[in-house]
Symmetry: C2
Subunit: 341 residues, 2 copies
Amino acid sequence: MSELRWDPIKLYWVIIATERGRRPRDFQVESEDDGMVACPFCYGNEDKTPPEIFAIRPGGAPNTANWRVRVIPNKYPALRVEGEINNHGYGMYDVMNGIGAHEVIIETPDHDRTLADLTIHEMTDVLTAYRSRYLDLRRDFRFRYMVLFKNHGSRAGATLRHSHSQLIAVPLLPPVATTQLRVARKFFRDKERCIFCDLIEFELRMGERIVREFSNFVILTPYASSSPFELRLYPKRHSHDFALMNDAQLAELAVAMKDMLMRVKSVLRDAPYNFILHTAPPMHHRPGKPEQWNSLEHDYHWHIELVPRLTQVAGFEWGTGFYINPTSPEDAARFLREAEI
Amino acid sequence: MSELRWDPIKLYWVIIATERGRRPRDFQVESEDDGMVACPFCYGNEDKTPPEIFAIRPGGAPNTANWRVRVIPNKYPALRVEGEINNHGYGMYDVMNGIGAHEVIIETPDHDRTLADLTIHEMTDVLTAYRSRYLDLRRDFRFRYMVLFKNHGSRAGATLRHSHSQLIAVPLLPPVATTQLRVARKFFRDKERCIFCDLIEFELRMGERIVREFSNFVILTPYASSSPFELRLYPKRHSHDFALMNDAQLAELAVAMKDMLMRVKSVLRDAPYNFILHTAPPMHHRPGKPEQWNSLEHDYHWHIELVPRLTQVAGFEWGTGFYINPTSPEDAARFLREAEI
């Protein structure tokens, strides 16, 4: 069983994933699985993964071929779904057993296509699978937060080449979410406005960091980009919860997603990247007191963050928490805006 | 001129290092400079670097050969030493000009030896150079904090192979330091003890995470290690300020440093790593009110943090602030303790 351990001085949680138990010799050059004989994410290999949790398929039995998108539990999960949460102390430390969920969304049956290569229709299927898993997992009251992310390329942490994203449900509100939710809540309380809405309006007015504007979405480079060619995709209209998007909105989002991924692929020549979907936690687990929940239901603004992995996180970043970015977001936006896709 | 920009939602500073101005084509596979004709850090190439700030040499003029350790300004600094601090607003954002210092400590004239390969005497010279630069830079009241770090190997962010470390002085207290200083201060105020001293005592009693104990130093793997084979080197006796170490203490530290680096080199076969020296900021810039400084002069405990770069930071870590570590610190300590060096 994995353990969550708290650092009482640096104030962060780590997940000691002992079931992965890696020894010194296991850390060889980490590359993708090009030499693999049978990819477990391809058609016909459905029995090489744990049984599916969700799939989009025109017909046929679960765990057979002919699916379009397939969601399975991670074979080597960082957190396990079975058990009750056990939160205790150990000397001066805090520790918690590793309860959670760790799922893999296989975005396409085609081994050789990246997410950027999918059609709008296929991309809509992927987003539909995301929404479905969010709605299902939030019914489990042990989970405080769900984070959906994608690692594209081995330098971004991908270990299998076949295009997939991951969804991890965690028993604690993560620090990155806590910070954003607190800031948004305070801003909303002070001004009765959403801080993200203000930011989007300011950026649309300035223009120099806008990459592409759609009727209902906008793609931009953040003013304080921590690394080169970082991107954000926001719904323009206020919306705190990704999982409440209807089918028509998902289809529009698919267009914007594909646009963003194509630009990154074109300008940075299929560079490794990570993206993360940031959305409000299930309402009954919002930070603060229960009586505050209703009034604050709408103080967050979901969005997608995309970070190309072009530079290495080095000693300075790790030692300070500052980031050094050698490409200004204004330059990055210009290159991405002018990309031929 | 570089700019420090504040993200008002994620609450971090980034340094937009525009003078490095990297365009998409500049982000090719980043590898060390093995094919370089003349290494600027080797004997005889002293004129290929900016003039030296400090050197240890038996005799001879500055910027000539025969030095043992040499400190120079970084040719492509993230922050520049010239100018006054200008802190202003831009719409909803905060921005500050990039004032600071960025120095490079060339640890040896020998192109092919790593820091672990240095003799104890040579290692003492390196630590002496570190101390000297700390003492000098803290006289500049614009600098709130100095961070000394090393990137070993291209996957840890090194761009030149010749062994060197870096020292960056920043005009703001970095988030990582702020967190640790606040925790240590609160603990000291509550209990009249140092939290690091407590941690060291607890770890020495438990033993399972101790890698090596010397009379005055201890090397251990942290209970909440964020990545595999992470290490800390602490002075056992309370000491808040690295720069106050005397020559005899530096010579003892050199023994412990070499021991730690040799173990990493042996067990992880010269894996890339970062180390960071964490020490108290110059006293006149401590956080809190001036009247609190005297009583809190001693509430920090300097140490060295070493992080081998064996895994990639991926979407989950970036999106949550949680870390997944596939090797328990107890296993890592055992491997490192039993290393043949």
